[in-house]
Amino acid sequence: MSHVLEMAAGVPSSGPLADALQMRGKLMELTQASYEAALLPEDAGKLPTHLRAVLACRMARICQQEGLTQHYSTLLAGYGDEADPHDLAVPGNTPPADDQRLAAIVGYVDLVTQRPRDASEETIDALRDAGMEEADIVRLAGLVAFINYQLRVAAVLSVMGEQQ
């Protein structure tokens, strides 16, 4: 199985869970395609792929999903030593105060991953005020939302897989 999610979750290649995934094969294909659109898009806008990998890695760690933390760490490492100069792949680390745009991006990632219920119009205004274009705000929201989906599917599949 070449899909990132099932590999990261360590899904067994046969048995009832594998059969269930087989029945939803089209949906798992679309999940993989969504991964590619979020992490490796043709048009990344002003949200470059190496930064997407940094943020994905941070979210995987916040959600304590081991398999995907490993995957995103490897993906990030592939972009070279300069891809994450402020070590933002580690939750709790913050960008330098004078980088308003990056600070707003990381603030959004943390809030919407941990407490999406607390998001409000000000959350979007903060991104806009930091100089982000609307299309990039939608790209960022899409990335964060997808990763949170992927992390939770992986969480369930890894527990179910271990039982089989």
Binding site: S34, A145, F146, R152, V159
Partner: protein
Amino acid sequence: MSRVIRKFTTRVPTWRPHITPVDFDQATPAQREALKETPSNTKISDYVLVLAHDPESLRIRTSLFNGIMYDKGGLSREERELGAVAASVVNRCIYCAAVHAQRYNNLTHDERVMQEIFFNGERADIDARQRAILKFGMRLSACPPQVTEDDIASLRGVGLGDQEILDLTLSTTLFGWANRLMHTLGEPVSGA
């Protein structure tokens, strides 16, 4: 002046975007392609027009959304809606909760379950299978997500097999995704 809705309801509010929706007449070919299919095959909404700023993701996401909620077999339609509501309650996405509570009610003709959930959350007085699904969905929607062997066992205990657990996982987590778009890129308001 319309008012922001902050309490759960089954009356579907209007969604007011914080981002300018793409103007369909000015849309690029990629955006038009992505707008060909819509979630639940409803009309092209402001929500989808906002998401059309990122057509590459939208095109795939809509097919995935419709497949997870409507593809045949496995978990029943109404129990997929219950998973959607569980996530939306945790994430306090009033809009998604309203739409999917209403779909649940239309499928079951029983409004009491959603009333209970909106009033009492995880402690809702509903039947054992509904409660197990709700609890699983709410724990999975927490951050970090809560899922253990006992959580899976509690679903098996009320009769869910691997296929149904997978389908419930997909419909619940899909709304972790949808809520994070719907509840951040805009807000629910009263009136048209």
